[in-house]
Symmetry: C3
């Protein structure tokens, strides 16, 4: 990894937002600030290991209405690495089972002097609704098939740490684009930073309409493979209940799995990414997932860095400046 070199100087901070709800509406400058602050905090915490007191005395609440291992824990650890307290909520044990509305639950949490609410919900737009109703900061940790901005950011950060610039890079998102909030957040973020984005998968899962926003649409991985700098292999979400969009898993793997044979036809320095959890043998074979081009586990570590950056920025909103960032580190 070469990402320790370009981060010595503290980054400029262009940020005036109270919330992080999506990447679609951010400017390129704002996306860059998130990435720069993440890089900075990664260095300042010795690779996300040591603790800062940047958010000491603040409380971040995880309000998760879908199962999650890594995102919930990543947000929780990121908050604690910045010195914040964390509280955890989940749908099954909350008062929602007593008939309380979602917004009332969130308002009650806020009334306990929570500073940031990190929300995951199966309904698109839930974080935006909360942002309207609450005075505290809201971070979207995934809303249905809409967006998952910190996942998009950590994917992009992982690329940027290995390339001088996103400008002109060809990044293919492969798999279930239709149901993927990760795909959406990647598309908006990558486009803003100048990358060429391809969405690739069965026509049942990849709409031609993406062309309208300047994204290349492909259904044949083997055709686009030789010109890709990065492959981001999305998971087929078997746990979602929808009509099976392709004949069989074996058929899908035959057409879209990244395996040793396909690696031979890829660029020498191709980066293999996957947002995880991965289905070994479906979208990716074991030798590729664990091979030298894979940056899958570094994506996880970058998740901590990106979430620290997001928590820090929304906690300070308009007051987030380079000076303040230097002070707290």
């Amino acid at each position: 990894m070469n990402h320790a070199t370009h981060e010595i100087t503290p980054p400029a901070v262009h940020w005036h937002r109270r919330h992080l709800l999506d990447l679609e509406r951010l400017s390129a400058e704002e996306v860059t600030t998130l990435l720069d602050v993440a890089d900075w905090l990664r260095v300042k915490t010795d690779g996300c290991r040591t603790k800062l007191s940047a958010l000491a005395g603040r409380t971040s609440a995880n309000l998760f209405f879908e199962n999650s291992t890594r995102t919930r824990t990543s947000f929780s650890l990121a908050a604690r690495r910045l010195g914040a307290d964390t509280v955890e909520f989940s749908a099954s044990v909350s008062s929602l089972s007593k008939g309380e509305s979602f917004v009332d639950t969130a308002r009650n949490i806020e009334a306990m002097n929570v500073d940031v609410v990190v929300v995951r919900h199966q309904t698109p737009g839930t974080p935006h609704l909360l942002a309207e109703q609450l005075e505290c900061a809201v971070l979207n940790a995934g809303d249905g098939a809409h967006e998952h901005p910190t996942q998009g950011l950590l994917d992009i950060l992982t690329i940027r740490q290995r390339r001088p610039s996103l400008q002109g890079l060809t990044v293919a998102l492969v798999g279930d684009i239709a149901h993927s909030r990760t795909a959406r957040s990647n598309i908006w973020g990558l486009k803003k930073l100048g990358a060429h984005v391809i969405v690739c998968g069965p026509s049942t899962l990849v709409s031609r309409r993406w062309e309208e926003v300047g994204v290349e649409v492909a259904h044949n991985l083997d055709e686009i493979l030789p010109r890709c700098d990065v492959l981001n292999l999305l998971r087929i979400q078997f746990e979602r209940q929808y009509t099976r969009p392709f004949p069989s898993v074996r058929e899908y793997a035959l057409l879209y799995a990244m395996n040793r044979r396909r690696m031979e036809r890829a660029k020498d320095d191709i980066l293999i990414m996957a947002p995880g959890p991965i289905n070994r043998g479906v979208e990716i074979t074991t030798d590729v997932a664990d091979g030298p081009h894979s940056v899958i586990l570094d994506q996880v570590t970058n998740g901590l860095a990106v979430r620290m950056a997001a928590l820090w920025l929304v906690s300070h909103g308009e007051n987030a400046t380079r000076e303040l960032l230097c002070q707290v580190c």
Copy 2:
């Protein structure tokens, strides 16, 4: 809110108890101490935001056998705002599923050097049983339909912050009195401080026997409304399995919901409270819940203050003094 003014001088501390099990058996002085210490800690933590080290090195265990969002989190945050560690237990993942007795589970938790056990259980008297069996302090976080002392205290604190005295105030508890531990704790606490208490609801949910302890019983909200200083609107607990005590939710709302029309007939400075979670459109309409007389969300913040006070007092027991309180803040 005018509650920041009368709290500058540290309060007298009249407290000699190891546990907080109910309000029924507390003296008026003890109830006042709980409220005074809560007010004091609220100010000293900048509205329950900043941290003290008053209970640093101590551990509080949440032992909850019923679902809970706000009470569990409120106790947990209160403990951490005082510098204590917290551990969480719930019935479903504990050894109770292996046949262990409730008391043995609690004794095991105590043997891990837990200082305070906060217990919620569907069986009335469970906290009292634990208090007999354990050496550590026990806080009742709700035992069946018996008592929920910190809820009673936070309701009373919220009134007291807005009125010079409870003496002579008329407070009506409206709704499901029969199944409400919140009602019971409010009744005992309010009576001790000199308030006039009315319990109001369908005759199936409000017993005439409350008159025996000096509580006024009413079945017609519209009759008592004009002379109420405070309305505390209890939730109809649909999740409890009992025979429906009234013909329909619509019928209940017609007779007992606090709505705009009824607000016109209420005192100009009436306080509208609800222990939450609220069922909008049942016991309270949205315009009233979110209106200028509503103090519902401030009740939640006061919950932190009251729980800090309770944790601090039972942690010190006979050693709790004004001098110690001043030292740690």
Copy 3:
């Protein structure tokens, strides 16, 4: 308890391991180091009450795939008493429900810069598999019916605190030996320190093959009782689905329950232990469980000490020395 006297001098530290997976493969010196460090940390934390900063900035992850009250909490509190952060995972809410492999879940947790993974799993050997696949330290918190090393250590520590030496002591493990990881860890640890071990129970639950490793096998408790220094009464695990190995619970209690009548025939200073959770009236009666010979609750407190020792030793691995231990305390 007389265990505060012999611990004034810091112990020698013989430890070079990255993981604690079982007691079977440890040397007597390593077992002794674990016990010595546990005793030392128990004293240095005022009986496991106060906090050290020995592992400040480190993170311990509880990865539990079976229900647990005491072990999970004990590890969590032990980590926090040493100043470490903790994160909790459970099977039901993790990405395993999305089809991710167990090892991938663990690798993802490690990629969040977790320093120690504490794992409980129903499959024997799972911690060993993780130790091969991860770079962070792995602690076995129970793997199927194989081993539960910290439980064995806390049992042995509880004996050692009350006897000058394990050498020549007769310790009987009574009950369900076949399904008990606790029995296995006790057997290996006790044998290494020179104790004479008897396994005692119905022939359906106690195999003659234990004789091959120098363990005495008995089926009649009354015969061996007079020469036992310690009885460790294992729980009949009713929640495991296997053919009932004895005619009835009443029959089991008649033959193997430790009760007042049997206590009269035991040594005057016999120690009564049980790993808990106990089934009162099955393997032990209430008067014995709560009587003067019972050290059951002190076992729980020793659990904290042993887990602090294990966390500290594996966190430092080859660098764990007496000098470092003295520094951090």
